[in-house]
């Protein structure tokens, strides 16, 4: 299988504070990987480094074989490195349909057509309908996002990411804020993502992780603690100590 995302020796210092140090990992096509770690482990910083929101102090990031370390966040998006946000970041006054249209048009770089009609853009309506159908959002197409239930907003986040035709998809706690009883819907939606995608999910909930991931990467205090197949990582005593242990104590 081809390696889609390769991170080598990634480090980030804020002044004297080292928040990420020497993290290496890779994702192959079809991977379903979970990134876990206790609060403050540097998960969000890691995602920001990989997506280009923050410049790294050292290290390299390769996307589908090409070095993207120096590229801006928007350039990485255009090359297929797409993320969803932990807190749904959507355009409150736009409808669900308009979100999808914008994502598809932006992906195809057709957003500088000043006199074209969105409604008459060839193929757009079909693709929007298919994406929304995949996420079970068809009936909500005309609902302004501001009055959408939170769980549906999370599904829309995933639908938006999907519409960008990602090679690598980073889902930042896709079920955060969704009642536990409903998180299965989000997982179902993730199950329906194209199989050749590499998906990295940042997640707290070990129950979700065990249902979703085939492999796990564990961060602790900005360092890579361990990585490997889900079962091996979950059985690793170091992981139990820093992550599962601390969580168990907290409850």
């Amino acid at each position: 299988m081809t390696i889609l995302l390769e991170v080598q020796g990634l480090s980030k210092n804020f002044g004297g504070l080292q928040v990420s140090s020497d993290i290496s990992m890779s994702l192959k096509a079809g991977d379903r990987c979970a990134l876990i770690g206790p609060n403050g482990a540097g998960k969000t910083t890691f995602v920001n480094l990989v997506t280009g929101v923050l410049p790294p102090t050292a290290g390299a990031i390769r996307l589908d074989g090409r070095d993207v370390t120096k590229l801006s966040a928007a350039d990485r998006v255009r090359r297929g490195l797409i993320r969803s946000f932990q807190v749904a970041r959507l355009f409150k006054s736009m409808t669900v349909r308009e979100h999808m249209e914008l994502a598809v048009l932006q992906r195809d770089r057709r957003t500088f057509r000043l006199f074209a009609s969105v409604a008459k853009t060839a193929g757009l309506a079909d693709e929007v309908a298919e994406c929304l159908g995949l996420m079970g959002l068809g009936a909500a197409a005309e609902t302004p996002v501001g009055s959408l239930a939170y769980g549906q907003q999370r599904l829309l986040e995933i639908a938006l990411a999907l519409a960008m035709r990602p090679k690598v998809l980073i889902l930042d706690e896709p079920a955060a804020g969704v009642p536990h009883s409903e998180s299965q819907r989000i997982l179902d939606a993730i199950d329906r993502l194209p199989k050749d995608l590499a998906v990295l999910m940042i997640e707290h909930d070990m129950d979700l992780v065990s249902r979703f991931a085939s492999s796990i990467v564990v961060l602790a205090q900005g360092k890579l603690l361990c990585s490997g197949a889900t079962r091996d990582v979950m059985a690793d005593p170091r992981v139990r100590e820093v992550y599962l242990g601390s969580r168990a104590n907290a409850h």
Partner: protein, 347 residues
């Protein structure tokens, strides 16, 4: 809302491989396209009803186009500006100077005004649109002050504080002379306004317009979709500059003079007042606001020359207090109210 929620829930339980592409909700009906034909029809009706007031109504039509251009910037991009007169005035002076020295075909003059306004917006927008909020507001004011000072100092071209006079356009299309009663001017202004409304609506409904609305709400989210927020803002600013420049040229052509007040801070602020009065982000709100403000202004100034400013103030406060979304939002509120009543009757 609860209905859509349970709807979504039942969909989620239909199993992982079910594709639900059939149940896409139907698009909502949009009657915004009616605004341009209604404006044209009312404009023609006014031509017969108020033949004495053609001069005022011509100014209203040209100003409506100017306020419409501000709506493109404020209502669809969220750019707060108190410097929109810079583009209006540039268009007016460019058309005026061209009319005195070069050509006098009215349509060519509008093109020159639009090009000048567009270039001014592109250059200044490229320089200042990295800023947001109050900083941007200050920068837009500064741009207007600079343009006004340049117009003031370049007396040989602009006439300075005396204003530029001697704009004498040739007959429209070679057929219709600009008569002393202002009939041609008025019909020309209404026609340009209607064309402007159609073009503006086309732009805001384009993929570009959709992206601009996205930038207005969350520029960072647009970046995450792979777009450049600033490129959209500068482009829309330039497009609005073209509209404002045409409006300025239209004023110059129909009135025959261009003064320093056309690049003033107060003219920028007045556009903002008229737009907020009518309602932002709808296009036709700009026309409604301009007609309401300038008509009330005219009537009050004529009936009570001493206290009319007070009544204008009360009028504005009344609208802002009771219809915070502007006059155009009144119709939508009414419709929502009737819809709710209808549902109640059914139940």
């Amino acid at each position: 809302m609860s209905a859509t929620m349970t709807d979504g829930l039942s969909k989620g339980t239909t199993g992982p491989m079910t594709r639900d592409t059939t149940a896409l909700a139907a698009p909502r009906r949009d009657f915004g396209w009616l605004a341009a034909p209604i404006t044209g029809a009312l404009g023609l009706a006014a031509f017969w009803l108020f033949p004495e007031d053609l001069g005022l109504m011509t100014r209203i039509a040209a100003t409506a186009l100017y306020v419409l251009s501000l709506d493109l910037v404020l209502g669809y991009c969220g750019i707060a500006t108190l410097g929109h007169a810079a583009m209006f005035g540039t268009g007016a002076y460019a058309a005026g100077i061209a009319a005195v020295h070069l050509v006098n075909d009215p349509l060519v003059l509008l093109l020159i005004g639009g090009a000048a306004g567009g270039v001014m917006a592109l250059v200044t927008g490229g320089l200042i649109l990295h800023a947001r909020g109050l900083t941007l507001l200050m920068l837009t004011i500064a741009v207007t002050q600079i343009v006004q000072e340049v117009a003031n100092k370049a007396r040989d071209w602009t006439g300075g504080s005396d204003g530029l006079s001697g704009v004498d356009p040739a007959p429209l299309l070679g057929l219709f002379r600009f008569d002393m009663f202002g009939r041609t001017s008025y019909l020309f202004a209404v026609a340009v306004l209607v064309v402007g409304m159609v073009a503006a609506r086309r732009i805001v409904r384009s993929p570009f317009g959709l992206a601009c609305r996205g930038v207005k709400e969350d520029p960072l989210r647009i970046s995450a979709l792979g777009g450049s927020p600033r490129a959209y803002l500068v482009t829309m600013y330039a497009v609005a500059g073209i509209f404002a420049g045409v409006a300025g040229a239209l004023t110059a052509v129909s009135s025959g003079i261009v003064g320093l007040d056309s690049v003033s801070f107060s003219w920028s602020a007045e556009a903002l007042v008229m737009l907020v009065l009518g309602g932002t982000g709808r296009l036709y709100g700009a026309v409604i606001g301009t007609v309401a403000f300038m008509t009330v202004h005219h009537i009050l100034a004529a009936t009570d020359p001493f206290h009319w400013m007070l009544f204008i103030g009360l009028f504005l406060m009344g609208i802002v207090l009771f219809l915070p979304g502007g006059i155009a939002s009144g119709g939508e509120r009414l419709r929502a109210l009737l819809a709710r009543k209808g549902e109640g009757d059914q139940a």
